[in-house]
Amino acid sequence: MRLTAILVVAAVGWCSLAGAAGLPELQGWQRAGEVSTFGPDSLWEYINGAADLFLSYGFRQLDVGELESGGVRVTVGVYDMGTPLDAFGVFRTEAAGGTELPVAAGAMVSPPYQCLLAKDRYYVKVEAAEGEITAELGKALVTALARALPGADGRPEAVQLLPHDGIVPGSVGYTRKGFLGLSELPPCVHAELAGAGDGAQVFVVVPHQGQSAEGAWRALGGRWKRVESAQHPTLVRTVPYRGFVGVVKGERGILGVAGFASQEELLRRLEGLAL
């Protein structure tokens, strides 16, 4: 999707959006060279095998070009991921191991070479081509980019489905395919559970592309085992090296926990989720 031109009111007045090019114009930065555009069929030409991650999250279009200011030249790539959740999912994968800033849906600065940003359906990757991105410069860049890009600030709505308590801060993520290595699991938002041991996670199924929660439940039921003794409809299975995983169908949809050595502990956690 082309980024449409947005007139920034004077009060905000920091950045404006270039219409046809799809690359934000930032005050104090000059465009250097042309903007290139890549779609799903051509993303491989630009980032080779790294394209797999983006394609698995429904990548739509990349607009990439260079900006320069004060001896620093950066490459800015704006990835249209189609939905805020997909942009968030890619950001959380690529930002793993870094310190996140509370900008838009998430931002990270890794001096001296890189900063990342997720804003609505867009994931932005800035890399130093000449000079360095300091912590201060990086923070200013992601802030300016977040203002320039259209869409809503804040994390995707689906993230709110996770329990508010008992989650390790900064561990929230979204996996579209193969969460826990299980091909049958629909897309999930997930987070690490605090105080529950290494590898314990909580997750919520986010039905995708027209699939209903009931359809997702039926699909899992074909491969997982029903626990008849549970108070709520519950399915479980084991995951290689990870112990037990289970899901419960509740009013908020399909919620699950994973990474428990015993089914008993797993079921206790699931009942807590379902209430």
Binding site: S42, I47, G49, E94, W224, K225, V239, A261
Partner: protein, 455 residues
């Protein structure tokens, strides 16, 4: 799964799927249940393992014929593959912005480090220095949580000049002296539509350079000529080889109803209109893509029907077997994103193709290459001033070349009494363009004649 044997064609094409289904349900359906429905968290039942290893060129390392590569979501999947005997891992600095390397780093401690060949890749630009490359490699090493990387690759090279990049070679020499890198390599797809050099140009130069020990190349039965030359250069120089991109085009495409689009077409319509196309233009764009893909699939369908492959997965398995059968490909790199993928593909380790399967993929290759003359077709007959029976001659060429019935083919050809490809040698070729399937008639007939004529 062993090599050859009495497995029927239909059987060999389906067996991978059957094992995958069994494997994917392990740890669930097969566990005993108590009266309360509890089960025990057993370790996974190992159903299939790597059956064959090959020596990775002059590295001397015996690699599994199947490798795991690309981006990794879950360290447990890497561990699962390694537990089944996969011992070659491909990753890169750029995959998931380092997250793929991290996942490997989580899995590696569970294994004897000397038994796993770990590779990673750095994209090298002219601006890179020895210092910057060593620094970037250090970050890779940290993510991989390993004292050494078995092979550091120059990632996706499309300029043959880069093969001699001094900064890279200096960095590798330093890292080797420090014991942090054992070997070096080059990966290439070629320029792929952008200015640059072909995969063959790059990798043959790299193989002959003398400083690289492993190559990663794109290789499948549809476009293997270029890859064959790279493999030959690697063999001549004792360089290890890893193949990627082994799968061909799909067998079929989902139908598109513009008034009631379904599946991915819904998303495509929406996306194209968001970009400013009218609904009609979006429909036309999708219909063009569907038509093109259907044409390719239609060329393959008779051969798929003939050989019993009805799904893309079966075709993919056949394509993989074709590559596995080539002893000059030391390992084949597969993207295995989940446990089911590992269960599906590991059973194919050690397999090779029987004669019928090899003919199938050759038929498919010809269909896709536009070099296939449909048996019994007379579409070009009116264009030939000499009345040469083109599809008959090409059928005899098929007997000769694909079915190895050389004597029969030449006998039948001789009985055409001169109304054959000999007339095409000096003809002005009014048949050019007469084939609705784009078969190059004169070229095909001249080739057939050279094959079938007694003198």
């Amino acid at each position: 799964m062993g090599e050859g044997g009495s497995l029927s064609r239909r059987g060999f094409l389906r067996v991978g799927g059957a094992v995958a289904v069994g494997g994917a349900l392990h740890g669930c359906g097969s566990e005993p249940e108590t009266s309360t429905g509890e089960t025990t968290a057993d370790e996974p039942v190992v159903e299939a393992r790597i059956q064959r290893q090959r020596v990775l060129g002059r590295t001397g390392f015996e690699v599994s014929d199947l490798a795991i590569g690309g981006a990794f979501n879950e360290a447990a999947v890497v561990r699962y593959a390694l537990d089944r005997g996969v011992n070659y891992i491909d990753t890169a600095e750029s995959y998931g912005n380092g997250d793929s390397e991290r996942k490997i780093g989580e899995a590696l401690p569970h294994f004897d480090r000397k038994g796993v060949f770990v590779t990673t890749k750095l994209a090298i630009e002219d601006k890179d220095t020895e210092e910057s490359i060593v620094e970037r490699f250090g970050a890779c090493q940290e993510r991989l949580k390993t004292d050494y990387v078995d092979a550091l690759f120059m990632h996706s090279v499309s300029d043959v000049q880069q093969v001699g990049n001094q900064a890279f070679h200096a960095a590798v020499a330093r890292l080797r002296a420090d014991g942090r890198v054992r070997f070096s390599g080059v990966s290439s797809h070629g320029a792929r539509g952008r200015p640059g050099d072909s995969m063959e140009t790059v990798l043959c130069a790299a193989a002959e350079d003398g400083r690289f020990d492993v190559m990663l190349l794109s290789y499948n039965f549809l476009n293997h000529e270029e890859g064959d030359r790279v493999l030959a250069a690697c063999k001549a120089n004792s360089v290890g080889t890893t193949a990627m991109k082994t799968s061909p085009a799909p067998l079929k495409v989902d139908p598109f109803d513009p008034d009631n689009p379904s599946g991915d077409y819904v998303d495509s319509m929406k996306r194209l209109q968001e970009r400013g196309l009218s609904r009609e233009d979006a429909i036309a764009r999708i219909q063009q893509w569907v038509s093109r893909t259907e044409e390719e699939s239609a060329r393959a369908r008779p051969f798929a029907d003939k050989h019993g492959a009805t799904t893309d997965d079966e075709l993919r398995s056949s394509a993989l077997k074709w590559v596995l059968a080539n002893p000059d490909v030391h390992t084949v790199c597969l993207s295995l994103p989940d446990f089911d993928s590992v269960d599906r593909f590991v059973p194919l380790s050690g397999s090779s193709m029987d004669r019928a399967a090899a003919e199938f993929v050759e038929d498919f290759r010809l269909a896709h290459s536009g070099l296939y003359c449909r048996h019994g077709c007379t579409a070009c007959a009116a264009a030939c001033p000499h009345g040469v029976p083109v599809s008959t001659v090409m059928r005899y060429a098929t007997y000769f070349h694909h079915q190895r019935k050389e004597k029969l083919a030449m006998q039948k050809y001789a009985r055409l009494g001169g109304c054959d490809g000999s007339l095409c040698l000096t003809c002005s070729a009014p048949c050019t363009g007469a084939c609705p399937h784009r078969f190059p008639i004169q070229a095909g007939m001249v080739r057939a004649h050279s094959m079938l004529a007694l003198a």
